[in-house]
Amino acid sequence: MEEINAVLQEIMAGTSNVSVLGLFNVPSSIVASWGVMLFLVIASIFLTRNLKKNPSKSQVILEAGIGFFYNLCKQNLGKHWRTYAPWLGTIALYILFSNLTSLVSVPPPTKDLSITATLALLSLLFIYGNQFLYHGLLGGLKRFTEPMVFLLPINLMEIAIRPISLCMRLFGNIVGGYILMEMIICVAPAIVPVPFSLYFDLFDGILQTVVFIFLTILFTHESIHTEESVAH
């Protein structure tokens, strides 16, 4: 019981601090997220070296994954998908590996509200920034009055609602899964947690990544699409 309480207290108090090289105190979620970044950088360097016309095994897997993601963007973003794909893919990889760190018994960085809030703010900037880049200043402002003028207040409210719901959805799912896993591990430390871990850590982590990215793609498409791009 004390252990569960300690976990809950830690979550609500933000996060525990870790001292780096005995010099600074850094929240543990930031350290975990540095680990994820380091892993992603090293993996990308090694996977994209020596790309050949006759692909090796790892290159085939890499190409299949990137092809899958490009296809998703192409289907949902219309004809200008190529500009947006790299950013969305980077965020997708970061969220995916952040959610999956609990498989190697590191608390996931996305259970820190400040990290999910940052990701949601980045999505907000991406969605509305592209709206203004694509339509220009006046055209971008005019988008808020579409499809009808009296929907203007609802469209303006969505600017606040979208990032809050993106942030809370990711945070709540990961925290909920993390708390449940800690409780299960307290009650039955051996074998029993395995299926639960497969569901809460692996399945839910992947699903929440897909939901976050898919919603960002849908909102971006909504803010950039024009009548011609719908008709293709």
Partner: protein, 75 residues
């Protein structure tokens, strides 16, 4: 003391958001099974749409969880 107990009651009430999520996911599952029964060849596409819809319906319950956690632990 009294406000502490009241916030616990509020946290309990916040769990009622699970009701909406349950109904929503139930309707989505019903629709997905019917769609697969009619067109089994599209089951892959239906399943992925269904999972996305479930995750969206589930988010109301997740908001309830966040609210109840805040109620329990905010002093």
């Amino acid at each position: 003391m009294i406000s502490g107990s009241l916030s616990l009651i509020g946290a309990g009430i916040a769990v009622a958001t699970g009701l909406g999520a349950g109904i929503g996911i139930g309707i989505a599952t019903g629709g997905a099974t019917q769609a697969i029964a009619r067109q089994p060849e599209l089951s892959g596409k239906i399943t992925s749409t269904f999972l996305l819809g479930c995750a969206l319906a589930e988010s109301t319950a997740i908001y309830g969880l966040v609210v109840s956690l805040v109620l329990i632990f905010s002093k």
